[in-house]
């Protein structure tokens, strides 16, 4: 009997030794051969500037006009805005380091900020993508029409398409992304899509409790527009702050008093829309 118990225990021990963990600790992957996002086969040739792109496709900002980019050409740009706090949704804002020219890239997908942080330089292969306007804001994407009878406009491209059309270049350098100042002198056509800061501005109706975009303010919509107090920015048809009800700061009270507000200044037809990227874009002026 003692021997048999010994055999049982021995077998138990053998089984314990054989039963090694199949889901133990995992080492982080090696990314020295390239990032797992984007298309690492793209090469840095046929680079054009945003100005040259606009010259090739004069209807680049027209509403309900989609121009397919048929040539082999690429942009080299840096990310200036993304969906980090859910406000700039399904798109990124990019600018050229040298000229400062800007574009919106419309992409289906959330958490773009995870691999396209502010300061990340990217190469975009434009061939096969489309350029056109949404509210006269030029953007790169693919055509979308509400139904078979409606006109198409450039909207967010499928994520699969985006992944084959860009390449990450190096690591993010957020220090290279410096907003310029926004003033009433800015040109709606030339400067829309840029990262800019409006200084010493306050919001109408801010009383310490009103928030940037509560659901009650939005009603049946998903965004809220707020307006400035100070002239000449007090024109509600020309200047506004656009905030999505899904933004992380949507229910944060708007500071009373003056602020410096930074963000992507998009164009919606004849109006400027400031899209704040995150909490850090809101600086209370002491």
């Amino acid at each position: 009997m003692r021997n048999y118990i010994k055999y049982l225990c021995g077998l138990c021990l053998l089984c314990v030794l054989c039963a090694s963990c199949q889901d133990g600790d995992w080492d982080a992957p090696d990314f020295s051969d390239g990032a797992p996002y984007g298309n690492n086969q793209l090469t840095e040739d046929n680079i054009i500037t945003i100005a040259e792109l606009k010259a090739k496709y004069p209807k680049y900002a027209d509403n309900y006009t989609t121009s397919e980019i048929t040539e082999d050409c690429k942009l080299r740009v840096r990310v200036t805005g993304n969906d980090v706090q859910g406000n700039l949704y399904n798109s990124i804002a990019v600018q050229e380091d040298k000229s400062g020219d800007a574009l919106i890239i419309a992409i289906t997908g959330s958490d773009l900020f995870a691999y396209l942080p502010v300061g990340q330089e990217i190469l975009i292969d434009l061939k096969g993508l489309y350029i056109g306007g949404y509210g006269l804001q030029p953007q790169i994407g693919t055509p979308y029409a509400k139904d078979a009878t409606s006109d198409a406009y450039v909207s967010r491209m499928p994520n699969n398409v985006w992944q084959s059309h860009f390449k990450l270049l190096g690591t993010a350098k957020p220090e290279l992304v410096v907003p310029i100042e926004f003033t009433s002198e800015r040109d709606l056509a030339a400067d829309c899509g840029k990262l800019m800061t409006i200084k010493n501005i306050s919001i109408k109706g801010a009383d310490g409790t009103v928030t940037w975009a509560s659901k009650s303010d939005a009603g049946s919509g998903t965004s809220v527009s707020k307006y400035f107090v100070e002239s000449p920015y007090s024109s509600t048809s020309k200047y506004m702050v656009y905030t999505s009800t899904y933004a992380d700061f949507a229910n944060t009270p708007i500071p009373t008093g003056k602020m410096n507000l930074t963000g992507i200044w998009k164009r919606y037809n004849n109006a400027w829309e400031l899209v704040i990227r995150d909490f850090n874009d809101i600086e209370v002026v002491q």
Binding site: M1, Y4, I5, Y7, L8, L11, C12, C15, C18, A19, S20, C21, Q22, D23, W26, D27, A28, P29, D30, F31, A35, P36, Y37, T108, G109, S110, D111, F113, A114, Y115, P117, G119, T142, P143, Y144, A145, D147, A148, A152, P158, N159, N160, V161, T171, A172, P174, K215, A218, G219, S220, G221, T222, Y246, D248, F249, A250, N251, T252, P253, F279
Partner: protein, 854 residues
């Protein structure tokens, strides 16, 4: 004296075996054991009831007195059959007379005795709802008692080696028993190991790693007293399979497509891994008071450590079968309408899915890269592997007094006591390349101001950093204490065998929160007072319940018998349905009351020379039940905690079992059931959103929704032939009326549009098409010298390789078109209602067993 003692001890040890044996059963020894093996094995995944989205627990029904119930569990297990559609909390399991169902959810997890086949085979005394037994008032789904006394096991060795293409690939088991020795000692032990890895398991992306042990030692002290000590456990690590949509299965060209795994640096990695170990010890004292009275008392202690990992995210769902990743997200495949651009996008997505297996699974490399980028730019990780823990410290005591009053009457009195501490918490399992992560409610961010207390899961450690192994999100204990007294009186009179049984019990439960959830830190109670509803102890809820059953069995002579029974009982709600949101606060569910159950059964049995037959009709009506579930509500972008109260259900049907003994070697079995198991009326619903803590009260229009994940109609025709030690079995099984788990939030009356006539159009419950399956087995036993025995057996399930049999699944919890609370109309191209998540039966699969007894 010694000889008498030995005989008594042998009787005590072997007596229970008598209940498990059916004198008329001609199935060979090897075949019977393997039937148990196969059923236990195929149950493995579905027994566990652990899948987040699907209630799959089944009941192992094996009452040997009934042709139907003695075969149905084994035959219909590939379709995950649930006896009468009952949830497994209506089936009680006992070990040596002490109840071992989970105190919080009332279910029994068969995986805790998995791999110990030599310990459990033929050691079950099972009884149906209206049958008497020696250990309880039977539950409506039956009750079973496992006999674990060492003396009840045959002496000798047994070695079994198995190979299969199922959840596991290889199995080895060794058992040894001494039988009852002359000195009054008996020992039995078994150890086993089941294994598969991600390349060999039947479902890609899963693996199985389980060691089982069972040791029991008995000492017959004298002719009146005997003590038995048993201990067992089976530390297990296994990867889970997930359900997916028909579109995913079609794109992958594989009905066993599993979205719960992916590639990391070229290696396969599972995202859902279960670790489970429940070491248990039981002490049993048998006291033979005199020739007619005996007292059996067992005390059991267990520390269960169960955890399951899950890939979680605070951004976009990274699973490959996220709805926006599908081709049909781009183009209305059901309506056939869309623009050419949408069709092109559909094609693009289709090409991506079908280009490579890599595109259809989780890309862990991307998750690591994203997390590293995020940390480098000062942000928290958004992808991580979390691990949900459900640990239990359990003590149960069961004591039964059995009195044979005379040859015609018997009385039993029993006591069951239980104490359970459930420890529920979440830990960080793997940060996937990130260095830091904060304990913050990212679902609530956006609903509150930045840094508002509501966005923190634990104000006692506000915005605490979470590293590997640290607890985060929730941490609470649930306590349950219970006591139950039952009694049965059995009286034989003339041709009738009659019984009446009753029980009365009480239970208490409370919660103790270990985290101070910011949403409930300053909760305004009914008296207008601000209290902390999250951290600390809740109030205690107490329930008194009880019931009775009575039945009679009439022996009409000539092999004919009639059986009928009726019962009524109230049952206290289980702790797992008693709290609105135990992860967040101490609130009990509104209108929490006992469930009431009325049940009745009428059966006819015939036992002849060549025909054995059972025909049974049953009806069960339950009301005032409570159900609870938690899921991610895509419409609200929030976890939702759902309590259904006033649940009323009807279960009814007919069951037939026939066994034709054509010759001594050849028999034909016919088993079948037609059943109904559904909600009899709409229910009240209270649901709470985790991103705001707001409770909503509504009506859920779930009348006529059916129990899911089981065929409500099933039939089997079986042929059995044996000759010269060989045995052959062939079973053709047909399954139908398999419903998928319905989604309550798709039927909230307050969120539905009313028709012109004030009625509501309620979505039909998703359903499987059912199907046919052919199973067979062949085997032979070899009697060797010196009493040794070798058996070889091959079992093949689903010989015709029917891979289109959907065995269960669940509706998605998102509307294709709906109006938000704010009045916004949402219309989606992707049709959620036509894309429930499903499981399909495995194609042809088999098991080869070699068993050697010596």
């Amino acid at each position: 004296m010694t000889k008498k003692l030995t005989l008594v001890a042998m009787f005590l040890g072997m007596a229970s075996l008598g209940f498990a044996q059916n004198a008329k059963d001609t199935t060979s020894e090897g075949e019977q054991a393997l039937k148990q093996d196969n059923a236990a094995f195929v149950f493995t995944e579905s027994q566990l009831g652990e899948d987040d989205d699907v209630t799959q627990n089944v009941i192992m029904v094996n009452s040997n007195n009934n042709v139907y119930t003695s075969n149905v569990g084994y035959l219909f297990s590939p379709a995950r059959f649930k006896f009468r559609g009952y949830n497994s909390r209506y089936n009680d399991i006992y070990f040596n007379g002490v109840q071992v169902n989970n105190a919080e959810n009332g279910q029994f997890n068969y995986s805790t005795i998995g791999g110990m086949n030599r310990a459990t085979n033929n050691h079950i005394d099972a009884s149906g709802a209206f049958e008497t037994n020696t250990f309880s008032m039977a539950n409506i789904g039956g009750s079973s008692n496992y006999e674990f006394r060492a003396g009840s096991y045959a002496a000798g060795h047994n070695l079994t080696l198995s190979a299969c293409n199922r959840n596991y690939t290889a199995r080895a088991m060794y058992a040894f028993g001494t039988g009852m020795t002359q000195k009054g000692w008996a020992f039995f032990g078994t150890v086993g190991y089941r294994w598969s890895n991600m390349n060999t398991a039947a479902v890609e992306g899963t693996f199985y790693n389980s060691l089982s042990y069972f040791l029991t030692l008995q000492k017959v002290i004298n002719e009146r007293h005997s003590l038995n000590l048993a201990t067992w456990g089976n530390p297990t690590e296994r990867a889970q399979q997930g359900a997916s949509t028909d579109e995913a299965y079609w794109l992958a060209n594989d009905y066993q497509y599993n979205p719960y795994w992916g590639y990391q640096d070229g290696k396969k990695r599972a995202s859902r891994v279960v670790n489970n170990y429940e070491p248990t010890a039981m002490l049993t004292w048998d006291y033979k008071i005199n020739d007619r009275m005996k007292l059996t008392t067992s005390l059991i202690g267990k520390y269960a450590m169960y955890s399951a990992s899950k890939l979680n995210y605070s951004g976009t769902n990274p699973h490959p079968d996220y709805w926006k990743n599908f081709p049909s997200y781009n183009y209305d495949v059901w309506g056939g309408t869309g623009t050419s651009a949408e069709l092109a996008a559909w094609q693009e997505s289709y090409d991506f899915w079908t280009a490579s297996k890599h595109n259809r699974q989780i890309d862990f490399d991307k998750l690591y890269f994203a997390n590293q980028q995020l940390n480098a730019t000062g942000h928290d990780a958004i992808y991580y592997i979390e691990r949900r823990h459900n640990d239990h410290l359990t003590f149960n005591l069961g004591s039964t007094f059995d009195w044979n009053i005379n040859k015609d009457s018997k009385f039993q009195l029993g006591l069951q006591l239980g104490s359970n501490k459930g420890m529920h918490y979440e830990t960080m399992d793997d940060l996937l390349g990130a260095q830091y992560f904060h304990n913050r409610n990212t679902y609530a961010e956006g609903n509150y101001a930045a840094n508002a207390p509501q966005i923190y899961y634990d104000l006692n450690n506000k915005d605490g950093l979470v590293g590997k192994g640290d607890r985060f999100r929730y941490d609470y204990n649930l306590f349950v204490e219970s006591a139950k007294l039952w009694a049965t009186y059995i009286r034989d009179k003339g041709i009738s065998h009659n019984f009446i049984t009753a029980k009365i019990g009480g239970s208490g439960m409370w919660r103790d929160g270990k985290m101070n959830n910011g949403i409930f830190a300053n909760y305004i109670d009914a008296q207008g007072k601000s209290i902390n509803l999250s951290y600390g102890k809740s109030e205690k809820a107490h329930f008194l319940d009880g019931g009775f059953k009575m039945g009679t069995n009439l022996n009409l002579g000539g092999g004919h018998a009639l059986a009928m029974g009726v019962g009524y009982e109230t049952r206290a709600p289980h702790a797992n349905v008693a709290f609105v949101s135990p992860e967040m606060n101490n609130n009990f569910v509104r209108d929490l009351v006992n469930e009431k159950i009325f049940s009745t059964e009428l059966g006819y049995a015939f036992n002849g020379r060549w025909l054995q037959m059972n025909l049974t009709g049953y009806f069960t009506h339950s009301y005032d039940g409570t159900e609870w579930q938690q899921f991610y509500n895509d419409n609200e972008n929030s976890f939702t905690y759902n309590s259904l109260t006033g649940v009323e259900k009807n279960y009814y049907g007919a069951e037939l079992g026939m066994k034709f003994k054509v010759t001594n070697n050849f028999s034909i079995n016919l088993i079948g059931t037609i059943a109904e198991a559904k909600y009899a009326s709409n229910t009240n619903v209270t649901y709470m959103l985790s991103n705001s803590g707001v409770e909503y009260h509504d009506r859920c229009l779930n009348k006529d929704m059916r129990e899911s994940g089981t065929p409500l109609a099933a039939a089997s025709l079986g042929l059995r032939y044996s000759i010269n030690g060989w045995y052959f079995n062939l079973n053709g099984n047909y399954y139908d009326r398999i419903y998928l788990s319905y989604s309550p939030n798709m039927r909230y009356q307050g969120l539905m549009k009313q028709n012109a006539d004030k009625s509501y159009t309620v979505m039909e419950q998703a359903k499987s098409d059912g199907g046919f399956m052919l199973d067979g087995s062949i085997g032979k036993g070899f009697r060797l010298r010196h009493g040794r025995y070798l058996s070889l057996n091959l079992m093949v399930t689903n010989i015709t390789n029917n891979r289109k049999l959907c065995t269960g699944g669940y509706e998605q919890s998102r509307n294709t078109t709906y109006t938000t609370r704010e009045g916004q109309d949402v219309n989606r191209t992707y049709n959620f209602q036509k894309n429930p998540k499903k499981f399909y039966a495995q194609g042809i699969n088999g098991m080869l067993n070699l068993s050697y007894r010596f």
